[in-house]
Symmetry: C2
Subunit: 233 residues, 2 copies
């Protein structure tokens, strides 16, 4: 069985806050003691806020927001009306280069962390320092998809696991070798955690228990399909 425990009660995060300490507090308040195999999932917004990746939208707020999204984009794939599907500096493809005003203070917008894999690693080290537990970390954002309606949470930063579970070489029930089964397990973890978080409930983190994943030191940016390999750019 897999369990997904929401970690509520994390106060509004500000630049310079000790996010690792706040999360450890939330884990304790939830009555959980992290065990080997547990994975911590954190929505990027609190990470960005702790890192100061927040910008004021001066003057015409809508125009300032659009300009900020363009400035954060390393490339633009599509435009339609006010919507820009951008490639971020990390390589992720998402709306408005990940710049977001929901759950941001009025007149501000939250950027993606500059290096979300590094953010995940820093958080993991902070938690290990204060608890002695080495908890793999997945940092998430909410992305749209081509071809399918609705948004899902995906992994944008990880530490302590591999983003892809490579089942090639293993065999199916018929003994046939599975040839193209690379599971984007970090994205599935992000999606699973989102089910426990809700969107507006001040619960930016969850503990996922029971996965029994091999440990690894992969990066979420390795989830980006290389441009030359991508048929939909």
């Amino acid at each position: 069985m897999i369990e997904i425990h929401p970690l509520p009660g994390i106060p509004e995060v500000r630049a310079g806050d000790d996010l690792a300490g706040m999360i450890v507090g939330a884990i304790e308040r939830a009555g959980l003691s992290p065990a080997p195999g547990d994975i911590l999932v954190v929505t990027h917004k609190v990470v960005s806020k702790a890192e100061g990746a927040v910008r004021h939208l001066h003057g015409d707020e809508e125009a300032a927001y659009r300009a900020l999204a363009e400035a954060e984009a390393a490339g633009i794939l599509r435009r339609r009306g006010g919507l820009v599907i951008a490639i971020t500096r990390h390589g992720f493809v998402c709306a408005n280069a990940g710049v977001d005003r929901s759950n941001a203070e009025p007149g501000t917008a939250v950027l993606l962390p500059r290096d979300p894999d590094r953010s995940a690693h820093t958080l993991r080290l902070g938690i290990r320092r204060s608890t002695g537990i080495d908890l793999p970390v997945v940092i998430t954002d909410t992305f749209g998809r081509a071809w399918r309606r609705g948004l899902v949470d995906v992994a944008i930063g990880i530490s302590g696991l591999d983003p892809i579970l490579d089942l090639r070489g293993t065999r199916d029930d018929q003994g046939r070798e599975l040839r193209v089964t690379e599971v984007a397990v970090a994205d599935e973890i992000a999606a699973a955690a989102d089910l426990a978080l809700g969107k507006a409930s001040r619960c930016p983190a969850a503990l996922v228990r029971g996965l029994a994943l091999p440990s690894g030191e992969g990066r979420a940016v390795d989830l980006v399909r290389p441009a030359g390999d991508d048929m939909f750019r």
Copy 2:
């Protein structure tokens, strides 16, 4: 807390088998008694097999497989080498129109169910008939994505829930109205369940507990972004 219980021990499924009965048996063997709010997730392959949506690959197996995938496609978005990104008759965009040889008997390939939403509904009714419990059902397949490496499970058929959780009109922590937050909750449920299933372990179903979703009568085909709305076709 959300719990995801794998339902192992379902034997190889053949055309005409009572899949609802087999799943009820697996739920009982797992020591679970379904409760209101539980959701049943089933990988489509056992559904397709029970419905007889399996084809023999005569002669040159590889060539027969390719021809079958083309025949199952309602449209082709891209081709590269042996890979075809197709639009299925249901409107889903996926590799090889969902025709798959993994976990199929040698010399055969499994198609998608003809109407996966109807399949989900039939399964839900069968379970309700034998247990009295009205268990929402999500039927899944494993799809690739544009821009991101690796595969994730998504919903291709549902009954008893809505595929999208529409949070527009609700407010974030700052009191700001969330404007574009339509969560593809059926896809997140599919992804979460896949974490519990593994790929080759003869465990084609899981029970997801603790979600507290509003009930609904939506369809997974409503997850398909209308072609006129889709910037990536």
